[in-house]
Amino acid sequence: MTDYQEYLEFLYSAVEAQNKKHIELSESTSLVADLGLSSLEVMEFIEKIEDHFDISIPLNILPDVNTIGDLATKVRELNL
């Protein structure tokens, strides 16, 4: 089982291409407020994660996801 920190590291690398403002990423970085991702870009990011871990991330979880840390927690739960 991959632990939370490893999920986090993957998410940092996966979102780097969309980090247009070149801000320093942390688990509290907000996908929308800090990174400025549009809804379409959030979905592209989600697809990268799904393909990497061979999981499907339900849209239902997205209202609870604000930060990279939130997403790492959800992905970890889905991949258990």
Partner: protein, 400 residues
């Protein structure tokens, strides 16, 4: 503040007002025919409707509507479950079921409430919905209301659908798979043979929205599934009366007898007034016409191919194949608005589409074709686009 979230939209509206452009909700002051009108004071060719077969102005449909209004009154003033089920509504349900060769049908007041209501009701908590990423807003709204687990598959990608069904394991055969026949913004057709094959392999139920493909595709106009020869794999067909049939309303047909029980569970069916009898009557007449007159579809496709080939020959990015919807994709919002305005000034009304209504970050000049367009009108539309190139508003490289 409550209104903060609307500031971006308010700013966009202000920008449009400053540029004296009103692409959204452009008011039609007069309809001259199925393909011509007066919009914002200009005589224009209507190339941004969904009047695929031109039946909105068919004298037989108009007569049927007039007669029904005289006989039944202007409205039902009630829900289908209360006082709003007239024999006209029941007759249309029988006829739309027969049209699809199915035993069961529900008629809704709009296409939006049909797809939204069915998607909100068919799957519930504990079930899974797999929907195409580019699904219509009514489908997204419906699935959100369902309480089911919602998973997107990549647009028109049967391999991605299969992958996601595989991941579901034992839950796959309890999954509602949602696709559309023709996608409304780009006019692309779903690969239904492949999607049906995936469903046969993994199980599940297939819900197909034929809103833009009914009357347009298939030997008898039943849509994309008929054209692909996979109607037996579709559990639920949904569609609308507001496009090929030239009126307003929606439907769902199915072989599953459970549809009759489902009918009593759909909020958007129960808690809204039923369609006016005049609408139902013109829809019944239009359904009869599209069955009796396949030449309308032939004419539609002649026009679709003419427009597609014309815009493609100008070097514009118009998608991989001809369709009654021909969209020109552009990257720059301001330039797209300029093009829309120039097209209006040239006497051509098309749809301006901006994200998130467009399926990517691109902006669209969405053209739609009708069987009622003349070849000369199609050529005028092409010429208007050619002028955009001449004036430098659009080039092959700026678009796409």
């Amino acid at each position: 503040m409550l209104f903060d979230k609307f500031q971006t939209m308010a700013g966009f509206q202000a920008e449009l007002a400053e540029r004296k452009v009103e692409p959204f909700g452009a008011v039609t002051e007069k309809i001259l025919s199925a393909t011509e009108g007066v919009v914002q004071g200009r005589n224009v060719i209507l190339a941004g409707t969904n009047n695929y077969l031109g039946l909105s102005f068919d004298p037989r449909c108009i007569k049927a509507a007039q007669d029904a209004a005289a006989r039944w009154g202007t409205g039902t003033t009630g829900s289908r479950l209360a006082n709003g089920s007239f024999t006209e509504h029941q007759a249309l349900e029988t006829e739309i079921a027969q049209f699809y060769g199915k035993d069961h049908a529900i008629v809704f007041s709009t296409g939006y409430t049909a797809t939204m209501g069915m998607c909100a009701t068919l799957a519930g908590p504990g079930d899974v919905i797999l929907l195409d990423a580019d699904s219509h807003a009514s489908i997204y709204t419906g699935v959100k209301l369902s309480g089911a687990e919602i998973i997107r598959y990549k647009h028109n990608n049967p391999e991605d659908l299969a992958k996601r069904l595989r991941r579901l394991g034992d839950r796959a055969n309890q999954t509602l798979i949602i696709a559309e026949g023709i996608y409304s913004m780009l006019g692309d057709v779903a690969p239904l043979q492949e999607i049906a094959a995936v469903k046969r392999e993994y199980g599940g139920y297939l819900f197909l929205d034929e809103a833009h493909s009914m009357g347009v595709l298939g030997e008898t106009g039943r849509g994309a599934a008929q054209a692909a020869g996979v109607e037996a794999d579709v559990d639920f067909f949904a569609g609308t009366f507001s496009k090929s049939l030239g009126a307003v309303g929606g439907f769902c047909v199915s072989s599953h007898p459970e549809l009759e029980a489902i009918r009593f569970c759909i909020s958007s069916y129960i808690f809204t007034a039923s369609s006016s009898p005049s609408i139902i009557a013109s829809t019944r007449e239009a359904l009869r016409i599209i069955t009796a007159e396949p030449q309308l579809r032939e004419r539609l496709w002649e026009n679709a191919n003419r427009l597609y080939d014309g815009l493609k020959s100008l070097g514009l990015p118009v998608g991989p194949s001809a369709s009654p919807v021909v969209a020109v994709e552009m990257e720059n919002r301001s330039r797209t608005i300029d093009c829309w305005k120039a097209l209006m000034e040239a006497g051509v009304y098309v749809n301006l589409v901006i994200p998130p209504a467009s399926p990517s970050t691109n902006f669209l000049l969405r053209n739609s074709v009708s069987a009622a367009h003349t070849s000369a009108q199609i050529d005028t539309i092409i010429a208007a686009y050619a002028s955009l190139k001449t004036t430098g508003l659009i080039t092959s490289t700026q678009a796409a």
